[in-house]
């Protein structure tokens, strides 16, 4: 049980002190197949890429402070928003929760010693690093990095003289990393559960990783093949997508979105799982509607694979396609709405402690809801025609991807931090940083909804003077947000180096990771746990009170 603490003098060396191989120091990390060490490798590298992409985002916003040239020229601006998109999507949002926190906690939450294929797991990280370095290094090559936008739409991506092939190659390699992680997680969930850990006793974070992994495995090969076809077309002149060779650019868009729309769910599902994990812990009560939340993850994965063409409502598709894709788009909104209502209901009659992880989760729910509602405006056909390719779309997906998943990653960092590092950060500073980040975030993105409705197209280096007020507020928001992020990371860094020692279970959670030593030992558990209850059994708080009085 969670409150049976292990005396400190009997503690075994933890995963930070000993590794799975005979190497010491840096090689003990680079060659370790311990899922926890691999999780941390992902964490540090992902955060490094995140910092780079935030830098590009900062420059984009700074450039848009005034009409005309503010700091960079148009070509640099186009390369920056492309790099910003590629790095944020492929190197931060997609691996953020599954590869970092999934790797670290999925086996522990199942009561397992590791993932089922530990060496494949390490290979996934190397592919991630190779892909990431290729993406960033294109910047240094003659010709400069790609200026196509992260969607690489043909024919432009076939004509530009910038280095498109390295960017495509990077996305291709990163795709393999994602597929291998997906295979590893699916198999681990099927084969490595502790005795008594039935599917309906699995934590909802595990359910969400399960749904995500299926999408990773089934959808990612399509983007890999598509990007390979673009490389072949560029290098060998085979006509597939290029109209001048008899190809079809709209075919490219279909293939691109058949992956990239489900990819949005690869990005958001694990964050939804994290939210379902955090709320019960800080409300000290069981989750409301466990099965509805679990099945809605699967429903999202399924419906989410059938709505890709809603990114192409202005492409001139047939009326039948328009009807079907708009109709299905509204269906995929239902499971997300179900989750939001269940989360809010889980706060009802809880015993709530508003610590930083919960605060980030509350921001998630607010911002994800705005992202969802504006998705309805984009899902309806006549309003989509007006809003497509405007800054309204930019605001919408940043509300889902950053206001949702990004904040989910921040919540996860604050939630699992004491377990991962065995130390605690300063709660007051973390709370202040949360407030600054939330305010800055909303100031940054909300004005883009308004300017988008008024006709501000996306990917514009320059703009008409009437849009300047919205751009100014947005840019000031970016400064506040970045300041908040710096405080947040500084506080975590300081906590990691010199924070007070964390107890085994600082928040009072009941999932299995809170029953292991802090930080966990190499194979997680001294003896394999046996599971006898559902994942959020908080009845002891209720019954203790009843017995007491």
């Amino acid at each position: 049980m969670a409150n049976v603490a292990m005396p400190a003098d009997r503690a075994e060396p933890n995963y930070l002190e000993v590794t799975t191989n005979s190497h010491k120091g840096i090689l003990g990390w680079l060659l370790s197949v311990d899922h926890k060490r691999i999780g941390l490798l992902y964490l540090y590298t992902m955060l490094a890429f995140f910092a780079v992409a935030v830098g590009f985002g900062f420059m984009i916003r700074l450039e848009l402070l005034t009409p005309g040239k503010t700091v960079i020229d148009a070509q640099t601006y186009n390369q920056f928003f492309t790099l910003h998109g590629i790095i944020m999507i492929f190197l931060f949002i997609i691996p953020g929760l599954p590869a970092v926190f999934g790797n670290f906690f999925l086996p522990i939450m199942l009561g397992a010693k590791d993932v089922i294929f530990p060496r494949l797991n390490l290979l996934s990280w190397y592919l991630f690093i190779i892909g990431g370095l290729i993406a960033v290094s294109a910047w240094l090559m003659p010709g400069g990095s790609a200026d196509t936008g992260w969607m690489f739409y043909v024919p432009y991506s076939l004509r530009t003289t910038t280095n498109v092939v390295p960017a495509l190659l990077a996305a291709f390699v990163l795709g393999f990393s994602s597929i291998l992680t997906g295979i590893n997680f699916i198999t681990t969930i099927h084969r490595m559960r502790a005795p008594g850990m039935t599917f309906f006793r699995m934590p909802l974070f595990v359910w969400s990783l399960y749904a995500t992994a299926w999408v990773q495995v089934l959808a990612t090969p399509i983007i890999g093949i598509t990007l390979a076809l673009v490389m072949i077309e560029r290098a060998l002149g085979v006509g597939i997508f290029d109209p001048s060779l008899g190809g079809d650019p709209v075919l490219y868009q279909h293939l691109f979105w058949i992956y990239s729309h489900p990819a949005v769910y690869i990005m958001i599902l694990p964050a939804m799982g994290l939210v379902s994990e955090v709320i019960p812990v800080f409300a000290r009560r069981t989750i409301f509607g466990y099965k509805f939340i679990a099945f809605s993850s699967l429903a999202i994965a399924l419906f989410g694979s059938l709505v890709w063409a809603h990114h192409m409502f202005t492409a001139g598709m047939s009326d039948t396609a328009m009807f079907v894709f708009s109709f299905l788009t509204f269906f995929v909104s239902i499971p997300s709405a179900i989750k939001v209502f269940n989360w809010v209901s889980t706060l009802y009659k809880g015993s709530i402690q508003a610590d930083p992880p919960l605060l980030y989760v509350l921001s998630f729910i607010f911002q994800f809801s705005i992202g969802g509602f504006t998705g309805l405006m984009l899902g309806a056909l006549s309003t989509n025609i007006h809003l497509q390719d405007t800054s309204f779309v930019v605001a919408h997906f940043h509300y889902v991807m950053f206001g949702g998943t990004g904040f989910g990653i921040f919540a996860a960092m604050h939630y699992w931090f004491p377990k991962m590092f065995g130390r605690m950060y300063n709660l007051k500073v973390a709370t202040a940083a949360w407030a600054v980040v939330t305010v800055g975030y909303n100031l940054l993105y909300f004005p883009l909804f308004i300017s988008g409705y008024l006709g501000m197209p996306r990917r514009y280096y320059d703009y008409l003077p009437e849009f300047q007020p919205y751009h100014m507020v947005s840019t000031v928001g970016s400064w506040i947000l970045i300041f908040g992020l710096i405080v947040m990371f500084w506080n975590l860094w300081r906590g990691m180096r010199s924070g007070p020692k964390a107890p085994m279970n600082p928040w009072g959670g009941v999932t299995l990771e809170w029953t292991t030593q802090t930080p966990p030992i190499v194979e997680n558990f001294r003896e394999v746990p046996t599971v006898t209850t559902g994942p959020y059994d908080y009845s002891r708080y209720e019954s203790a009170a009843k017995e007491g009085k």
Binding site: Y290, T383, Y463
Partner: protein
């Protein structure tokens, strides 16, 4: 900009407002409930939680009610879109050519311009072609947008009753000067349009007839 300047402006704005109002009601409800619960059931005031596993009636309600509302949004979006697809047979056809990074317009008599002049009250159908990469023809004030491709002809139509000059933007990223790929649609009284059309045609040496040539 929220004035009615094309036949679609009203219906698009009405649906947008409908979704915004419904969304605001639910968003305020969710946020208020969240904040209220976090304050009311804070641990210092409410040390003992109540474990509620769920409620099937509620689950059915908050599945069915959003579904019904979503279907109404879908329906109005679809009917609004059908209008955008139904250009009147007598619409004035104008060939639009997009290239990096400008717009060109060609009337049925061969007259070429770089601003789109149209008579007020007359339906106009634009036939969109690209000479290079993808672009998108976007008139924000009219709520009209359509992608422009090198290998197929897309079309869109509008009718505007309001004399004035409205921006035409490129909405699909097309490279270096994408953000400068602006033109304008000039909506004129029929008599002003006729005067402009005959003098411009004379200057260009083409017959000043607007009969649909195709």
């Amino acid at each position: 900009m929220f004035t009615s300047s094309s036949s679609f402006t009203n219906s698009v704005d009405a649906l947008f407002t409908y979704i915004v109002v419904l969304s605001l009601i639910v968003l305020v409800g969710i946020t208020a409930a969240m904040v209220y619960f976090v304050v009311k059931y804070r641990r210092s005031k409410n040390p003992v939680p109540v474990n509620i596993e769920g409620n099937t009636t509620l689950e059915v309600l908050w599945t069915a009610i959003p579904l019904a509302l979503f279907m109404s949004m879908f329906y109005f979006g679809w009917t609004g879109y059908k209008e955008m697809r139904s250009a009147p047979a007598d619409a004035l056809p104008v060939n639009v050519t997009a290239r990096m990074w400008q717009w060109g317009f060609e009337y049925p008599n061969g007259l070429k311009t770089d601003t789109l002049y149209v008579p007020a009250g007359r339906a106009v159908k634009v036939l969109l072609r690209s000479q290079d990469v993808n672009h998108a023809f976007f008139i924000p004030a009219f709520r009209v947008k359509k992608d422009v491709y090198p290998n197929k002809v897309n079309d869109a139509w509008f009718v505007s009753d309001r004399v004035g000059r409205y921006d035409i933007a490129c909405a699909e990223y097309c490279g270096l000067n994408h953000s400068y790929m602006y033109s304008a649609v000039q909506v004129m009284d029929q008599s002003d349009f006729d005067a402009w059309f005959s003098s411009a045609s004379a200057k260009a040496g083409v017959p000043a007839v607007l009969a649909a040539a195709k």
